[in-house]
């Protein structure tokens, strides 16, 4: 082996493309044997320039752009944006619309957590749990499809309300689906709490103490597993959570097992809440009228997404386009905290630790450059120009 090529200490690159990552992100772990001695993260591979793009689109068009920040928690992003715009315009969505928004948000939480169980089981090498949890996730996907017409990117939100109403048949199918999922969740809770081989991979791994979680600014289930009482549905109830309160699921251990248990225990609250909303769905209209030009002002909205707190800052300038939109997603908070936990662990535990926070890189990576035909302003490149540019670029490279 040539001297200069022989690595002294291994640096394992994980990503941007790696079987452990379902989305692009880049991590470097220096390992000594099997033990990780340092960790490094680089993001931005899924940057789409959404914050900048939002400044070029109208308030209504932005709703669908925002929804595509994340494929899994699309509803909560759109909901946060709607709440921010509504608070700028001083409009409140009717109670029925708010209840339906929360209903979809909770269904989305179920879908996201089930997805996460599968992904973590896959990282741990427990393929059967992966397959079964994803099979059962289809139930909630079907419910969402029946309700909104799409399995992901439901676009249930409108500025000032929601698009879809619930009828009796749908309520019944949701009740039935939720009953089935609750039974399955009990089963999965049993599996993750009692399966000896799975526990070997989760118990005592990636421990984050309460103080660490607070200092690093962890959010969502990751924080709650370390006994940090941070759940906006409880702390700062928004929308229909004011009328339908929830309980916070907490754990004190702060390891991977605790993160599993917190997420699954949270689901029981979701099931209860969905039934409660279905039983007490307020009557009334679905949409409140909202002007096309939103008054100037600033609004901050914080919601509890499945992965933790999403933060939206919207600044309007009185026109039909926002002046500035800032999104902060839970993954960036959790990632920086958890990446430090990897040090000192076995390499084999790293995928599990990463998966333990339920990372979502596309949520993280939003901003950067827009090349867009949507606005026909002279500054922007049209698709045609962009295509031509691409052709020229590769032609010049080939020479």
């Amino acid at each position: 082996m040539p001297e200069n090529l022989a690595p002294k200490r291994f640096t394992i690159p994980i990503g941007p493309q790696h079987p452990a990552l379902k989305e692009p992100g880049h991590f470097q772990f220096t390992v000594d044997g099997e033990v990780v001695t340092s960790a490094y993260v680089r993001l931005g591979y899924a940057h789409r320039g959404i914050e900048k793009a939002a400044e070029e689109r109208t308030w209504i068009q932005n709703l669908y752009l925002i929804e595509r920040i994340c494929g899994i928690c699309s509803h909560i992003h759109a909901m946060a944006y709607c709440l921010a715009v509504e608070s700028l315009a001083n409009v409140e969505a009717p109670p029925r619309a708010q209840a339906i928004r929360v209903l979809v948000a909770e269904l989305e939480r179920i879908h996201s957590h089930f997805l996460w169980i599968g992904v973590s089981a896959h990282e741990a090498g427990f393929e059967t749990l992966f397959m079964y949890s994803w099979r059962d996730r289809e139930t909630v996907m079907d419910l969402l499809e029946g309700l909104t017409g799409n399995r992901v990117n439901y676009s249930a939100n409108l500025l000032g309300g929601v698009k879809f109403d619930l009828d009796q048949a749908q309520m019944d199918s949701i009740r039935k689906g939720v009953d089935f999922l609750e039974e399955r969740t009990h089963h999965y809770l049993d599996v993750i709490m009692h399966d000896s081989t799975f526990l070997q991979r989760t118990r005592g791994i990636g421990v984050m103490t309460t103080a660490q979680a607070e200092v690093m600014g962890a959010v969502g289930p990751t924080a709650r597993a370390s006994n940090v009482k941070r759940d906006l549905r409880v702390e700062a109830p928004y929308s229909a959570y004011k009328t339908f309160p929830v309980q916070m699921a907490l754990d004190t251990r702060g390891d991977l097992e605790a993160r599993f248990e917190v997420r699954l225990n949270e689901l029981f609250e979701s099931f209860r809440l969905i039934r409660q909303i279905l039983d007490n769905l307020p009557e009334g209209p679905l949409v409140a009228r909202i002007p096309r030009r939103i008054p100037a002002g600033e609004a901050v909205v914080r919601l509890e997404a499945p992965r933790g707190e999403v933060y939206y800052f919207v600044k309007g300038n009185g026109s039909d386009k926002p002046e500035r939109l800032k999104v902060r997603t839970p993954t960036i908070c959790n990632l920086t905290s958890v990446i430090r936990l990897a040090v000192g662990h076995q390499l084999a535990d790293v995928p599990m630790i990463l998966a333990g926070i339920d990372p979502c890189f596309s949520c993280n990576d939003r901003m950067v450059q827009v090349r867009d035909a949507a606005t026909d302003s002279q500054k922007m490149l049209t698709w045609e120009q962009l295509r031509q540019h691409g052709i020229d670029f590769y032609r010049s490279k080939a020479k």
């Binding site: 689109r57 109208t58 209504i60 068009q61 932005n62 709703l63 669908y64 752009l65 929804e67 595509r68 059967t128 749990l129 079964y132 099979r135 289809e138 499809e145 029946g146 309700l147 909104t148 017409g149 799409n150 990117n153 676009s155 409108l158 698009k163 879809f164 089963h187 049993d190 599996v191 009692h194 399966d195 000896s196 081989t197 799975f198 526990l199 035909a373 949507a374």
Partner: protein, 142 residues
Amino acid sequence: MNRLGTMLPDVFRSVFRPPATENYPFVRPEKVERLRGLLKFDPTNCSGCGLCAMDCPAKAIEVTMIDRKTKKFFLTYHTDRCMFCGQCVVTCNKSSLRMSNNEWELASLDKNSFTIYFGDKPDAEPILAGKPEGQPEPVKEG
């Protein structure tokens, strides 16, 4: 009590159960009523206001006015740009637009099939013929 093989009941049951996987290309699943498929246009009430085109986040709809007075216009719908959000259906206050729940297999090898013209096609043809690329200039409304 920690034990081995907690998934055993599931594993055992599925021996006697058909696979959960959908047999899609062979069996086409029944889709829900609200599924957002291909956009459908009903010209009877349409006034050609162009709000749908204005609100469309993907610029998939273009309204081309031929004659403003006689309300002659046609709609160009680019299925390849459409992201099936359904905003146009909500925006249209004449209920001229709806989304099919049956036509959702839209992949095609032919690019031209992604552009659909609605409305007064015969009147539109001279205009379209004038444009060599077949891409009509959208007339800005409002």
